[in-house]
Symmetry: C2
Subunit: 222 residues, 2 copies
């Protein structure tokens, strides 16, 4: 096989893995720049220097690519949040809430993906891709649950499951509201009656999660 | 003007209003049956018995139609929740949370719309449509805030704003997770490792919001 045809089609597992990584990296870069909403398979193929038909040998749909990025995002966020919680010298609802809020707000692409995953991404992929994604998020929850319960022994596993679901749902929704596109953002700022539409993700998230954790810790065990 | 041409194009304000109402009703009915995700302008035009080009005289995009339904949904939910709260004889975090959870879970189409609004619906409509939508949701929040504060005087306006944002974000996300399409739902039930993906909207929402309200009520005023 000469170099040109190797570039056309990656035949070894290692070459295939590298090609997949390039595709994911291109999608990550495009998504981080302008949000994933309008990014097409053709955009990704162009960014990685492949024809769309070649890209389809690696991923069936744009949703499959973004669902893989969402799974990677869960793992990376889990590592970051768990590490931050383990270093937290003042355990309590407010500091744990701030750790969730800060690590989520710092990950705009992940927040964008979190909002799109249940609506748009899980609905145009194979069942195998959905299963792999669900198992990846399950694995990513483990270290978070352990780290939160270490800090807040009053919470049980169900409490932390509820807390994580609330945090990611809210982070996804708030990020979308906080990043509405240039024209709509200008509209919100121009009309005082729309002040409620201008939000900051991190303080809002920290405030709500502080309340949620306080309430979870105060409740009698189920 | 004979009857046929009146049917072709509604010229009076009243005829225009009736035509718009028929279009919204058709979209509501289709959305309630199968979720709004894949419903196109052509589907709606077919259901209402119009050509797509005629429908475009009333609404510019499918997103504009669904954003109008979302605004109507806010108003209708606000009425229902406020009425239920006014009749609540045992004010407290758990009963207020149950009122939010029950009224949201009973409105599947509204939950679906809530999830799609910031991601997909506000992004393909005119600025006027976005402004009208934001003002409609603002108006719908008023009665909810009054009714919640009547029940729970420890909460201030900001607390109720946070509570409503949490409730609608979570209801939208949980509804999507709970309604993943037939094939994916079967997958979740078939694999015990995916048990965490099978959720019930109402009890989950009631549990989280009870905790959030408890924490908001316990916090010192900001």
């Amino acid at each position: 096989m000469d170099e040109a045809s190797e570039f056309q089609r990656a035949r070894s597992p290692e070459a295939k893995r590298r090609r997949e990584a390039s595709i994911l990296e291109a999608a990550r870069s495009l998504g981080g720049e302008r949000g994933i909403r309008d990014i097409t398979l053709t955009d990704i193929a162009t960014a990685v220097g492949m024809h769309k038909s070649a890209l389809l040998r690696y991923f069936e749909t744009r949703e499959e690519i973004f669902l893989r990025l969402t799974a990677e995002g869960w793992q990376e966020w889990s590592d970051a949040l768990s590490a931050r919680l383990r270093e937290n010298a003042e355990p309590g609802p407010a500091s744990v809430a701030r750790a969730f809020a800060a690590t989520l707000a710092a990950r705009g692409l992940f927040c964008d993906l979190l909002a799109h995953a249940p609506l748009n991404l899980e609905r145009n992929v194979s069942l195998t891709a959905v299963r792999d994604f669900k198992l990846a998020t399950l694995a990513a929850r483990g270290p978070i649950t352990a780290a939160v319960r270490e800090q807040l022994p009053a919470l049980d596993d169900q409490d932390v499951t509820d807390l994580v679901a609330t945090a990611v749902s809210l982070a996804g929704a708030l990020w979308q509201i906080a990043n509405p596109g240039t024209e709509v953002a200008a509209l919100y700022r121009s009309d005082p009656r729309l002040a409620h539409a201008v939000i900051e993700v991190e303080p809002r998230l920290a405030r709500v999660l502080t309340a949620t954790i306080t309430g979870l810790a105060a409740a009698p065990p189920a």
